[in-house]
Amino acid sequence: MLMNLFKFKGGVKPPSNKLQSNHLPIAQAPMPSHLVVPLHQSIGGTPQPIVQAGDHVLKGQKIGEADGWISAAVHAPTSGTVLEVGMHVRPHPSGLDSLCVVIEPDGKDEWIARTPIDHKAAAPADVFHHLQQCGIVGLGGAGFPAHGKLTPSKGVAMDELIINGAECEPFITCDDLLMRERADEVVCGIAMFRDLLQPKKVLIGIEDNKPEAIAAMRAAVDAQKEPFSVVAVPTLYPAGGAKQLIRVLTGKEVPGSMRSTADMGVQVFNVGTAYSAWRAVAHGEPLISRILTITGNVHAPRNYEVLIGTPMGELLALAQPHPDTDGILMGGPMMGFLVPNPQVPVVKTTNCLIAHDDRLFPPKAPEMPCIRCGSCAQVCPHELQPFEMYWFSRAKNFGKTQEYNIFDCIECGCCSYVCPSRIPLVQYFRFAKSEIWAREREKNAADQAKTRFEFKQYREEREKADKAEKLAKAAAAQAAKKAAEAAAAAAESSAAPAADGAIAPAVAAPADVPAATVNPEKEAKRATIEAAMARAKAQREAVQPKNTESLTPDQQKAAADIEARRVAAHLIEPEPVAPAPASEKPE
């Protein structure tokens, strides 16, 4: 089938190193001594362990429950005993621990009851649930739960479903062998994805350095009479990057900042994902094993079907590494990383183990200054200016790195590959990105703290205001009550002497004195004030002799004597009118 292909800018052609491992069929790896199954193997929530040490588990039994929608279950890769649910080093450059279920195989490899699902008869939601429960995640690298990507995007019609068999990283051949040997089931999986997503077109992209895989896939597509196009794409790293493959096959450019390609009506799945999804649907098999290339500095490079959780060191031994091997590289040489130690387990996204030595991967020459040759910009598949981002990352001017779109960088490593100054550019960009993230986290934390503090202040002020208001209200109520009492009292006292005179004008006023100066309100007010003054006066008078109130007659007499003597001795004036001497005034 002839098809118009598009090009993406940039890209590099490193030596492919695929021939070492792609000439032998996939072999079954032997049962390892123990399995360390990390619970967090996909993007999204970390599955919760549902087994304990000492439990007996069957092959395919769920041991980790999906945590939320974007998460996928984890299963026991074989039957045996759970030795431990604890922290172990995970296959990540950080070397950090994560929660793992350690299983000792019993050698019986006894399956749990498997329940296939008829995806055509079942509701899509049930199929998604089934895939999630079977732990199906993207096997191409990122490990995004497959059901999440199969859920149709709202409002955007699905134009193309793209199946990624490009496998552009050097050394890796696991997808190549999968397509050669299991093309039928891969195509069944693709057909199921097609049924769920209803795209207008299905395109299967395979780099043209894999003619056997292309032929096998074409044969399987023809045999199943599916209208899928198997397209040979030019071999150019990173043609297997999702956004690059979309560009090559459809001409669409999905911006780096756009998180879901479905927003542009296109969705990409790895061939391995299609295969395991089909195994899950048609056979009820959860994702407990995968195909893995073991290559590099080894005597017998080959692809193996391995159980998830197998320690990498045990696998590497199968390929007989040369004695000068000094590390294990997980993934390809362009984007992979050296694992912290050989005990780390294979996870769902482990596609390749490469025995590392200095002959295959010579130590890097020392970093020279950038000479702005622009080679990095010429090979960048996202058309960034890596050397500009490098200057600003180096200067820790992270705002500028963002102006130069550092977050569109997919860390493919093309820039570092071609740099004549041997600058580890990707490393600088990772550093800048993590610094920016850290600062954003700090800023968010600070913002939250500030919000909390401001709210606390606001709350305290509000409480203070409330209290003051309450007090004021209480005081006002008290005053009003007293005023009312006083007014009543005043009215009573004034009513007695002029009982008939006061009432008569009030009655007569509307009749013959229309402009009478008697204002009842004012009168009441005046009476209140007078009453208050009278009351205050009475209070003062009542208060003055307070400390002599409850004295015995003897004491009163003694006090009177003392008073008399004081007056006699002119110690105190009977009338305290004399001003204090000037000298006693405070300066």
């Binding site: 030596p15 450019e253 362009m334 992979g336 020459a365 000479i371 996202h382 200016q385 100054s421």
Partner: protein, 338 residues
């Protein structure tokens, strides 16, 4: 053991880049040597040695690794460009002064390799032509045939600088004749003098320019330079000189004359393409090359100096950061949005 991805690296290095630039200069140097004799090779040796010495001293003073930077070849490229742009029989100390100034001031005082805002070789040329205008304008007369020993004696100052040494380049001769003649000379009559002007632009000089063109094309084929700068440099010089030539062919020489004389080809392929001091974006490179070509023509035809490439490149170096800033290309997926 910590090593970041990628683990595979292309077999490239700064010194490989610089060596290839030197290799690309060889055809031009060969043509030049056949024109003026072995003196140019002597000047190249003098410039190279003084550049390496100045580089070593500066690296030592700055506490940088000698093994890493002395072998990177960047000082050698600078030295060769200086030797090729200075008069071939200039006294040794002139070349040494220019080279040492380029390495110490134009390169290391700005931060060394990769940090210099100006092309060091062009800084050397500009400084020397301002400080020693007479010596920088004395080119061996046409037909002066001297052996290696005689040329060495002149360069080293052991022989008197005779009149035959104070000729002008064909480009300079043409300008002077047209200016002094005040209309009495026309280009066609001048060009008829095959002894000076050869077939197009200067006897022998045409071959030197062709040599640089050949080397430049090889650099392009090796992907060490892109097409943008040379093409826009040549195009802008052609358009401007062509327009004036069509306007008044008796007073303005043809584009071919201008492209094949002076430092036009060397400038277009080897000097304006210097990545450190030039533009980096594709559109920026086009502007940079076009600007350098226009300015070089204007300075060499209307200005007081024999050629304008050095000042043109320096002026464009000055504007390169701004041009780069304003010509950032749209990135993947954002093309219709910007």
């Amino acid at each position: 053991m910590f090593a970041p991805a990628p683990f595979l690296l292309k077999d490239v290095s700064v010194s490989q880049v610089m060596i290839q630039v030197c290799v690309a200069l060889i055809p031009g140097i060969a043509a030049y040597a056949s024109l003026v004799g072995p003196a140019i090779l002597v000047q190249i040796v003098i410039a190279t040695l003084s550049a390496l010495l100045a580089e070593a001293v500066m690296l030592k003073l700055r506490g940088k690794s000698m093994a890493m930077f002395l072998t990177d070849g960047s000082a050698i490229v600078t030295a060769w460009l200086i030797a090729l742009t200075f008069p071939p029989l200039a006294p040794w100390w002139l070349v040494v002064t220019g080279t040492v100034f380029a390495i110490i001031v134009a390169k290391h005082l700005y931060g060394g390799l990769g940090q210099n805002p100006f092309n060091p070789a062009m800084v050397a040329f500009a400084v020397c032509i301002v400080a020693f205008p007479a010596l920088m304008s004395q080119w061996p007369s046409v037909g002066l045939q001297l052996g290696l020993i005689e040329q060495m004696n002149i360069i080293l100052g052991w022989a008197p600088r005779v009149d035959a040494l104070s000729g002008a380049t064909p480009l300079d001769a043409m300008k002077t004749a047209l200016k002094l003649g005040e209309g009495s000379f026309d280009v066609a009559t001048l060009l008829a003098n095959q002894d000076i002007y050869g077939n197009f632009a200067g006897r022998g000089w045409e071959w030197v320019a062709a040599g640089y063109l050949l080397g430049g094309l090889w650099l392009w084929q090796r992907k060490l330079i892109t097409w943008h700068v040379p093409v826009s440099f040549i195009a802008s010089m052609t358009v401007l000189s062509g327009a004036l030539w069509l306007y008044n062919p008796s007073q303005f020489a043809s584009p071919l004359f201008h492209l094949l004389s002076g430092g036009a080809m060397l400038g277009a392929f080897f000097i304006a393409t210097d990545p450190v001091s030039g533009c980096t974006t594709p559109r920026g490179k086009l502007i940079f090359g076009a600007g350098a070509g226009l300015l070089a023509y204007i300075i060499r035809v209307f200005g007081g100096y024999p050629d304008g490439v050095a000042f043109a490149v320096l002026l464009m170096n000055l504007s390169a950061p701004l041009i780069d800033l304003l010509t950032q290309p749209p990135i993947f997926g954002m093309k219709d949005k910007s």
